[in-house]
């Protein structure tokens, strides 16, 4: 039973990590500008992310250690210092975009400016994190997250042409405006392969105290959880392709995305979009804030754990509180959410190698993982991710600035 419930960790990781502001925005942008042509990027990203999540879960279950913990321990402080620093910076940017997403959702329903909501949202997030245990966060967000299935329902109700749909899973190398095309492709992969996903998932597995008996379940959870996120992201892409593209609406601004669901659900569509976006971003903000606290506490060996009372791990609590405060500030000063999203995703893609390489090495440490160390399949995927990550690092920032921006 406990093992069945463990699925919520997969779902919440997926909702927060997969369906964050970035993934939804880029999927919608892809659909609006290139109809189904970019579906393959979501497919590819999903495949990779499933493998990576499975690995981080397997690692946590086999060693009872979360990733940042093991990396510091294994590679020593001086090795870990730079990646840790860079990752924390990108975490702050990402947290900013997620908080921005919540604020934008509230702006849609309330009509009040986005920046107005920055402070209330920040306070709400902190109180939620303080008051709740890890399990309550898991259960509530994974339950709320089901709302995002509205994108899938809408996509189906539009009866997208199957032929084009399937063709979309084959990479198109000759698209008009190739710079924009690849810019979006890179952003999608970058948005999905977020480093914090693996920190959060592995730390979560430790919080739910998994042991090696979870390794089998972990596979299913990784596949189902990430699959869930992937399907919703594809749903968003398809809806954008069916609703925005034919009208010649490209996504230059989040407001245009807000119209997506109004064809499928004339009355509820607008609200559903706002709530779906809000929930996804809420889950993501919690996830990023927590994984930042996890990474910091584990790096310095402090007490950590969302299930502990803040009194028992005050420093842990202080980290996520500070992170949320800083990131809310970014929104408060009124940075354009879409630009912030693209920048954040670029930095995420840029830091991916810092995570991928130590990860790959750790997963092959037989002294540590014994029979649970990586097999050749996982290693092949990990190597692919690493190579991809290196490419992303080189191209993500310029492409995001020049192409992805549209």
């Amino acid at each position: 039973m406990k093992k069945a419930l463990a699925l919520t960790l997969g779902i919440v990781t997926s909702i927060g990590g997969f369906l964050d502001m970035g993934a939804l925005a880029t999927s919608a942008q892809a659909g609006a500008s290139y109809r189904f042509q970019l579906l393959w990027t979501i497919g590819l990203a999903t495949l990779l992310v499933i493998f990576l999540v499975e690995m981080s879960g397997r690692f946590a279950a086999a060693t009872r250690k979360a990733l940042p913990d093991a990396i510091r321990e294994h590679f020593g402080f001086t090795f870990w210092l730079v990646p840790f620093f860079v990752l924390s910076l990108s975490h702050l940017l990402v947290l900013g975009t997620e908080i921005g997403g919540i604020c934008f959702a509230l702006h849609l329903v309330s009509g009040l400016p986005t920046s107005f909501w920055a402070l209330p949202v920040g306070v709400l997030l902190v109180t939620f994190l303080w008051r709740s245990t890890f399990n309550t966060i898991e259960d509530s967000t994974s339950l709320l997250g089901l709302i995002t299935l509205a994108f899938v329902v809408a996509a189906v109700s539009h009866h997208p042409p199957m032929k084009d749909l399937l063709a979309g899973f084959v990479p198109t190398l000759t698209a008009e405006e190739p710079l924009k095309y690849w810019g979006i492709a890179v952003s999608i992969v970058g948005a999905v392969l977020s480093p914090y996903l693996f920190y959060f998932y592995s730390s979560g597995a430790v919080e739910d105290d998994w042991d090696s008996s979870f390794i089998g379940v972990n596979r299913g959870i990784a596949a189902l959880g990430m699959g869930f996120g992937s399907v919703v992201a594809m749903g968003a892409l398809v809806v954008a392709a069916m609703v925005l593209a034919p009208r010649g609406i490209a996504m230059d601004d989040y407001h245009q995305a807000a119209l997506m669901l109004t064809d499928a659900f004339p009355f509820w569509g607008f609200l559903l979009f706002a709530v779906g976006l809000g929930v996804a971003c809420l889950a993501a903000s919690l996830e990023v804030a927590l994984s930042m606290a996890y990474a910091t506490a584990q790096t310095f060996g402090w007490n950590w754990g969302e299930s502990l009372d803040p009194r028992e791990d005050a420093r842990f609590g202080a980290v996520y509180t500070g992170a949320i405060a800083l990131s809310s500030l970014i929104i408060l000063v009124g940075v354009d959410p879409l630009k912030l999203t693209l920048l954040a995703m670029a930095t995420e893609a840029a830091v991916l190698p810092f995570v991928a390489l130590p990860f790959l090495i750790l997963m092959n440490d037989r002294k540590l993982l014994k029979e649970h160390a990586n097999g050749w399949i996982s290693n092949t995927v990990a190597v692919i991710v690493l190579l991809l990550a290196l490419v992303l690092t080189v191209v993500s920032i310029p492409l995001a600035l020049l192409g992805g921006g549209g």
Partner: protein
Amino acid sequence: MSTPKIHFEMLLGRMVRDPDGVAVGRIFAAHAEIEGGDCVLREFLLGPGALLERFGFPLGRWRPTRVPWDLLDIADPGHPRLRCSAAELAGRRP
């Protein structure tokens, strides 16, 4: 208790040179043994091989250079010196 004390972590990554200044390799690991409650240092591991071993990576042809504790002068952690020549050390190894 006038015995000198040094910071082990400051040794890591330092280049070991022999009396003639010939570079032998960087220190990346050290093996110790627990005897009678004490943790006693036995040997230092130098070179890329040592790093690979520390990361638990399949070693392949990269083997660490092993230096027994008594052949390495670490009184100045910044500049660890070999007590014998690099050649002798190479000769010692099986």
